[in-house]
């Protein structure tokens, strides 16, 4: 079964920021006018997608290389949380 690929919706208007030495991000979702606090890995995933990547398996490998424990679980949480916030969507979304 082909893994679902993800992207940031084209009209989402996201701005995010993490301060030096800190591990959490603040995220502004322009289309919905909502502001959120994100765990570091979720912020990294947004940066990953913004750079043109879309394959979550690739991201999971990166997490493992960084020494993140239980990367599959972490990834599942990230995808659920960000999808729930409507800041990422599966690429097949019509």
């Amino acid at each position: 079964m082909r893994t679902l690929h993800w992207r940031i919706p084209p009209d989402a208007s996201l701005i995010w920021h993490c301060w030096p030495g800190e591990h959490e991000y603040v995220l502004y979702h322009g289309a919905a006018n909502q502001t959120h606090q994100l765990a570091e890995t979720a912020g990294m995933f947004l940066a990953f997608l913004a750079s043109g990547e879309s394959d979550p398996d690739h991201f999971q490998r990166m997490l493992r290389d960084e020494g993140v424990e239980q990367p599959e679980e972490v990834l599942v949480h990230i995808l659920e949380a960000l999808h729930q916030l409507d800041v990422i969507e599966p690429i097949d979304a019509a």
Partner: protein, 360 residues
């Protein structure tokens, strides 16, 4: 009778005139505009004229502040439209955006600096149940104040009560007709749906044809019970008319459409107000009431008093009388007689109870 808000209306029709107002004139104009809900509109018009530098900084700060607020609401509305499209596309039926929602979706001049408090959509009566289910599943809840209100909407008006989203707190009105079924004027929504245009980029959202946008806005204004936003609604209408007034055949098409939809009366009332207050150039033939309709000519000054009721500087001793007449009339137009009197009595009683509570 000198118009207490002449500068305000002039600013709405000739925005460049704002550059020559004195600080004293601005003091009154800003208060009137705030009361009328028009600060953001003036700001948008000033921005379009690119003459912000000529306005007093203090005035511009006030205008710009409200404009930012209105723009943010428009962004929020656009997002709601995206989500509504997703929620309702499974119904496989057109969802017609009305008024503010349509202006925002079209990026129409009438959306400039306009505050959006709720979204109005129209669906055919046959799909109303399914629409309510789909919306409820997506987090919308009907939002009646109490059991009486709930009955008012469902049993008497044959409407869904207004809906509110659980987490986003936005408001949605789902209609199946332009006026309540019980109204004394029969309107035909299927004709409006038939001429509607699908919004590019959306699955099921439609906007009315420009003639219908005008007629619906006119009807809404004339049937309104509360007139605090009468001037703002007229300003919206002025902007709806503006691109078309010199178009060949426009007035004939508009009149013909008004007849088709049985909305000649609201159109007449609105045209008279736009002509006398806003100086809109209306061909004489259109401004005259249609023969044999028996349009009560007193309604024109009453509506004018309603439109100008928004600020103390424009009110007269007659204004409360006009407000009362318009309030009763709006209910009379919507409700059959056997429901009207008890309803008005109940509403009056409720208001007294809540006033007493706040005094204790």
């Amino acid at each position: 009778m000198k118009l207490g808000c002449a500068e305000l209306i002039h600013a709405l029709t000739q925005p460049t005139s704002m550059a020559s107002l004195s600080p004293t004139q601005w003091d009154l104009l800003l208060r009137q505009a705030r009361a009328a809900g028009l600060l953001a509109r003036l700001a948008a018009l000033a921005q379009q004229e690119k003459n912000i530098d000529q306005l007093p900084k203090q005035a511009w700060h006030i205008l710009e502040g409200d404009l930012t607020f209105a723009q943010q609401q428009a962004t929020a509305a656009r997002y709601e439209l995206r989500l509504l499209d997703r929620t309702l596309k499974k119904l496989d039926t057109p969802v017609l955006l009305l008024k503010g929602g349509a202006y925002v979706a079209l990026n129409h001049a009438a959306s400039a600096g306009r505050f959006m408090t709720d979204i109005d959509i129209l669906i055919t009566k046959a799909h109303l149940q399914d629409a309510e289910s789909a919306l409820t599943a997506a987090g919308w809840m009907t939002h009646s104040k109490d059991a009486y209100d709930e009955r008012y909407y469902r049993a008497w008006m044959h409407e869904l009560p207004p809906m509110r989203h659980m987490s986003r707190h936005t408001l949605l009105d789902v209609h199946h007709n332009l006026l309540p079924e019980t109204a004394r004027i029969r309107t035909h929504p299927e004709q409006v749906l038939a001429s509607a245009h699908r919004l590019p980029g959306y699955q099921c959202l439609y906007v009315p044809d420009h003639l219908d946008l005008i007629l619906h806005s006119a009807t809404h204004l004339v049937y309104e019970g509360e007139w605090g936003h009468g001037l703002r609604d007229l300003s919206d209408l002025y902007l709806l008319f503006a691109p078309h007034v010199h178009e060949a055949g426009f007035w004939q098409r508009l009149l013909a459409r008004a007849h088709e939809l049985n909305l000649q009366d609201p159109l007449h009332y609105v045209l008279v107000q736009l002509q006398t207050l806003f100086g809109l150039s209306v061909p004489v033939a259109v401004a005259r009431p249609s023969p044999g309709r028996g349009v009560p000519y007193l309604m024109t000054p009453v509506i004018r008093l309603g439109v100008l009721s928004f600020h103390a500087s424009c009110r007269t001793w007659l204004t409360p009388v006009a407000e009362f007449v318009l309030y009763v009339r709006s209910h009379w137009l919507r409700m059959p007689p056997h429901l009207l009197i008890p309803h008005l009595l109940y509403k009056a009683w409720k208001r007294r109870v809540s006033e007493k509570k706040s005094q204790d």
